[in-house]
Symmetry: C2
Subunit: 237 residues, 2 copies
């Protein structure tokens, strides 16, 4: 962590989703010993107010607490920042305006992952929070790449599942999420993006027929971070 | 993470062991929503030279890189520090002398976990690195509580297993570790301490007869951190 890339992780939204991201980051790194891994600083800033409540106008603004965590990461020497929380990307522009340190965008990472899968356009399903859907970050950003986004038949069951994961009840969440993912595929979606970092925690072992149709945004972000560290010159621009 | 306890995690030794520790920390925290969790700053300082090689006199001193990570955690506001690496505790005293921030000791956390299991003395087996065994941190610190420590029949297979985990090959490691744990139990150990943070990564699902006889030092440290944050006044002294 001296002199080279230090990835700052603005985390805690939620805490287990950050752990899941860190695991995927380690797995995505070509390494045979400790010293081959990236230098990473993580702010597990669990006191950040709920992002969806804020976007829906029912809760406090999370930006001040996110800014505190950002400042801690800057103080600790971060040279890149990633946020393993899709909904938090509603504030991506506001945070980027506060710091010269590049903040990777999770939707760009998903677009890169779709391209790697050879999917160049069409309808994409979103399993996400109400806040992420209302903020429009996915349809706005994916439209540039020729994608249209579709939301679940029963969004309330997706939100229920996300809250169950945050409370540690993953088994209940799994069945709810699987039903909504299957319905999105049946409605013609080429891929279903797990666009809330709590969702892959619950869907760690999806049923085999569904597996190739799911795209894990957390894993996509982890891979983008590794690529950014390995090819800093081409990505920091 | 504003105003209250911020746990600093001096990690990266190795990176997946730190992820395992963070997972156990989240699981050990009584929480139903993000905001109930501890504020945590993690330095995933994977560039710290190998601890065992240094203790054996075959590699560079890890203390300078550990000190850099410590300084980053201090700069980021840590009010307590934990190191999810048993071997790193060889430098616990040297690091504690550099900072007023209390650094929890993993062997004290293990002693507390033994007490919670109702085990008040006797023979304890150690699955640990060559460095941890040579440093003597476990027998020295556990002797105060009436324990004697026993080392594996075939320590070289334990080291081989640890290196396999660091390279991502957990299945191979599991069989090696299980055989040594069973031999320690057969030789009269009341508990076998998984005293290297790579080991519970490989032994996540130990065979049922062995399960109650294993004590996971990583989990013990995570629980000690949660207790320290919940009762700061009584533990910070």
């Amino acid at each position: 962590m001296t002199g080279t890339t230090v990835l700052g992780v603005l985390g805690g939204m939620g805490p287990m989703a950050t752990v899941d991201f860190l695991k995927k980051l380690v797995e995505a790194t070509p390494a045979a010993r400790d010293q081959d891994h990236l230098g990473v600083m993580v702010a597990q800033a669990s006191d950040i107010p709920d992002r969806t409540s804020a976007i829906l106008g029912r809760g406090p603004d999370p930006l001040p607490a996110m800014t505190t965590a950002l400042r801690r990461l800057e103080a600790a020497g971060a040279t890149r920042i990633a946020m393993p929380c899709n909904t938090a990307h509603h504030w991506h522009g506001a945070l980027q305006a506060l710091t010269p340190v590049p903040i990777l965008h999770i939707v760009d990472a998903v677009a890169e992952a779709l391209a790697r899968k050879g999917i160049g356009g069409g309808s994409i399903g979103l399993l996400a929070t109400d806040g992420t859907l209302l903020s429009g970050i996915y349809p706005q950003r994916l439209a540039r790449f020729g994608f249209t986004c579709r939301t679940p038949e029963d969004q309330s069951s997706v939100m229920r599942a996300i809250r169950r994961v945050k409370a540690g009840a993953c088994a209940e969440a799994r069945d709810l999420l699987r039903a909504q993912a299957e319905a999105l595929v049946a409605s013609g979606c080429r891929q279903v993006v797990l666009a809330c970092t709590e969702i892959p925690v619950a869907l760690a072992e999806p049923p085999v027929p569904l597996r190739p149709l799911l795209l894990d945004a957390t894993q996509a972000l982890a891979r983008a971070c590794v690529a950014s560290a390995i090819e800093p010159a081409s990505r920091a621009a």
